[in-house]
């Protein structure tokens, strides 16, 4: 009996091995896409299950079989812990034969995953992470940073507010990779525009109460309160700022606000706020058409990250189809030479440092009276061309782009 089982297993292994030999172009038995993101914590609404659904939509649209191989999808929750993200990525590359790893939210987790992917020489596309270290100091030939980064947010929102005369800033910063990057990048933009940073306070991720921090901000005498945090932290900061009357004296600048946050806070507390987004569901006919399909599945409008998840997956699968292989080096070469044209971006380009350069949008949150239908939240203030939004060749520290 036991011998029988072993024999069957061996036969299975031989069959599997034989198959992969016959199709040496595509590694393993399939093209495997792995997705590691926050599925349960404070960032799970802006990406999470919705992001996974978007990736599945992209796979279904591309055709489930590419280059004679089935496209498979697996996902995992990193619980906002970099060590879980890294060990899961390692396990997937080593044991599951994952060909493309998509990094969801959390910069710390994404920096860790990018390291593993570079070591294993596999394609890694970061969607939800903000830190621009991914394509700057820590750039890798296998990393693509897709949807946005802290530099683009800083230049979008920070630049617009500084231009309007908001010169004195105080920062409320989430105390980890993302918050620190965002604060630094925005401070640079503010200083370049002749402004001043009056101070900053760093709060722990998922802090329980923001009123203490806000009182410190208030006593600084700054005009602008820059919120270098995201998700639930940004929501609770804005709520408390309204409650303590801080919004009467200071203008809030949400440096990373997602549409889900606006939906949760309501237009009453957010109207008039500036924010920078890489994508908005109601931007044009293409975005609306895709969002309609997404809405049917998730009953919510998609965020920039969820749209990015779809677009990145579709772009990757197109590249695999074009080169007829899932070999990471060949696919990366194809990705970097092909402009991206879909509902997410027009003429998006993946640069040598891995940055996907596309237009960003400066938005203003509508007043209650201006909002005509559900999820009608933003009006477009300015389109920031991709080559102005991101780090330039003169500024980069990435060795791959010198």
């Amino acid at each position: 009996m036991k011998l029988n089982t072993i024999a069957t297993a061996t036969a299975f292994a031989v069959a599997a091995f034989g198959a992969s030999c016959a199709n040496a172009q595509v590694s393993g038995d399939s093209i495997k896409i792995g997705f590691i993101t926050d599925m349960s914590g404070l960032y799970s609404d802006i990406d999470g299950l919705g992001g996974a659904e978007a990736i599945k939509m992209a796979i279904a649209d591309a055709g489930v079989v590419i280059a004679g191989k089935k496209v498979e999808f697996i996902s995992a929750d990193h619980q906002n812990k970099a060590d879980i993200a890294a060990s899961k990525a390692r396990e997937w590359f080593d044991q599951q034969g994952v060909d493309l790893l998509i990094g969801g939210t959390n910069s710390g987790a994404n920096l860790a995953m990018a390291k593993v992917a570079a070591e294993k020489k596999k394609v890694f596309i970061a969607i939800g992470a903000g830190t621009n270290r991914l394509t700057n100091e820590e750039c890798s030939p296998y990393t693509v940073h897709y949807a946005y980064d802290t530099v683009a947010l800083a230049r979008g929102t920070g630049g617009a507010i500084a231009k309007q005369g908001g010169k004195n800033w105080y920062f409320l910063t989430a105390d980890y990779a993302f918050g620190q990057s965002l604060e630094k990048d925005t401070a640079d933009v503010v200083k370049a525009a002749g402004g001043k940073v009056m101070g900053s306070v760093k709060h722990p991720l998922a802090a329980s109460d923001f009123s203490s921090f806000l009182l410190q901000a208030q006593s600084s005498g700054a005009q602008i309160l820059g919120l270098a945090n995201a998700g639930g932290d940004a929501i609770n900061s804005i709520k408390a700022a309204n409650e303590f009357g801080i919004t009467k004296k200071m203008k809030l600048a949400g440096l990373l606000i997602f549409i889900n946050d606006i939906h949760s806070l309501g237009l009453g507390t957010t109207a008039g706020m500036y924010l920078t987004d890489g994508w908005y569901w109601d931007l044009n006919a293409d975005t609306r058409a895709w969002s309609k399909r997404y809405f049917e599945k998730m009953k919510k409008e998609p965020s920039m990250l969820q749209a990015g998840d779809y677009s990145a997956t579709a772009t990757y699968l197109k590249a695999v189809k074009a080169v007829g292989s899932d070999d990471a080096d060949k696919v990366m070469a194809q990705l970097k030479k092909t402009p991206i044209n879909d509902m997410f971006t027009k003429n998006g380009v993946i640069r040598a440092d891995g940055r996907m350069v596309h237009d960003m949008y400066l938005m203003e949150v509508k007043k209650q009276s201006e909002s005509k239908y559900p999820w009608d939240y933003y009006k477009l203030v300015a389109t920031i061309p991709g080559d102005q939004a991101y780090l330039t060749k003169a500024e980069t520290q990435c060795k791959l782009w010198k």
Binding site: P204, A206, E243
Partner: protein
């Protein structure tokens, strides 16, 4: 006047804010202390029931058009009834077993509740308006205090002290305490001990529900609001001494203030300071500040 480079008025306002947060800790740790003291159960689902209180209030106001004050009474009652169902159907079978079983069961209930709410409502949270009567803020000279936060402190202190009074100073409280010491003997006097225990659990979790409704206008009503808080609250109970009613109230308020001050002097450390205090207290007084060595 300045203390360590911080203006005195700023310090005063931070102390007050610490007191507001401390009153949430006090109310939650009080519920835990009552349940542990009388039932010997480590109620890990306390945070989830706090979250449930906030969500029930939101649901009542959104779906049934009830107002905040109605929900302030109704939501804790519903949470209490839910607690009674848990006690009657599951928890009561575990009293004779090790603490660990109760902890695991209630932890499981937490995961279940959070998962359910997360799958229905997501984590971004629901908008919750401050009741009209408590909107606005009062200028205290050294700070602007939102009226709602002042109400939170008053409401929680009244509830906490009333609970302490009932358990420590009344005949009913005496029965309760006697029932936990020697249930057989108390039953021999004609007191229905199992019923008393059930109601105690119901009351303990209703306190959590009440805290949830109080918190709803201040912080985002989300499935995660309980788990963000519960670990700190457990630390509060440990510092105060497991089962000590007054101890948990005072420790809750005190730690709120300590945490508030940390947010000024070393903000990055503010979510850790409670645990540092816990370590020090456990080293010096293993039974907690107000606990009795057994």
């Amino acid at each position: 006047m300045e203390i360590f480079g911080i203006p005195f008025s700023a310090l005063l306002s931070q102390l007050l804010i610490g007191l507001v947060n401390g009153s949430f800790y006090a109310m939650l740790s009080l519920g835990l202390a009552v349940i542990f003291g009388l039932l010997n159960v480590i109620n890990f689902s306390h945070g989830a029931l706090y979250m449930m209180g906030a969500f029930l209030a939101w649901m009542g106001m959104t779906y049934f058009g009830l107002n905040y004050w109605a929900m302030l009474v109704l939501a804790p009652l519903l949470v209490g009834v839910f607690g009674i169902i848990i006690e009657k159907t599951m928890l009561r079978w575990l009293y004779k077993l090790d603490h660990l079983y109760g902890l695991l069961l209630t932890f499981g209930i937490t995961l279940l509740l959070e998962g359910l709410f997360r799958s229905f409502y997501g984590v971004s949270g629901q908008p919750f308006e401050t009741p009209a009567a408590l909107q606005g803020a009062t200028d205290l000279g050294f700070m602007i205090l939102p009226n709602y936060r002042a109400w939170v402190v008053v409401a929680s202190l009244v509830v906490c002290l009333a609970t302490w009074f009932v358990i420590e100073k009344t005949k009913l409280g005496a029965y309760l305490r006697a029932g936990t010491e020697n249930p057989k003997l108390v039953e021999a006097f004609g007191v229905n001990v199992p019923l008393m225990v059930t109601l105690t659990y119901g009351f303990g979790v209703a306190l959590a529900g009440f805290a949830g409704v109080l918190a709803a206008p201040i912080i985002q009503v989300t499935p995660l609001m309980g788990s963000n808080l519960i670990i700190v609250v457990f630390a509060v109970v440990v510092i105060g001494g497991m089962g000590s009613i007054m101890g948990s109230i005072l420790t809750g308020l005190g730690l709120g203030v300590i945490e508030g001050l940390t947010r000024v002097f070393y903000p990055e450390f503010s979510s850790t300071v409670v645990f540092l205090v816990m370590v020090v207290v456990l080293l010096l007084r293993p039974a907690g500040l107000f606990g009795k060595e057994k």
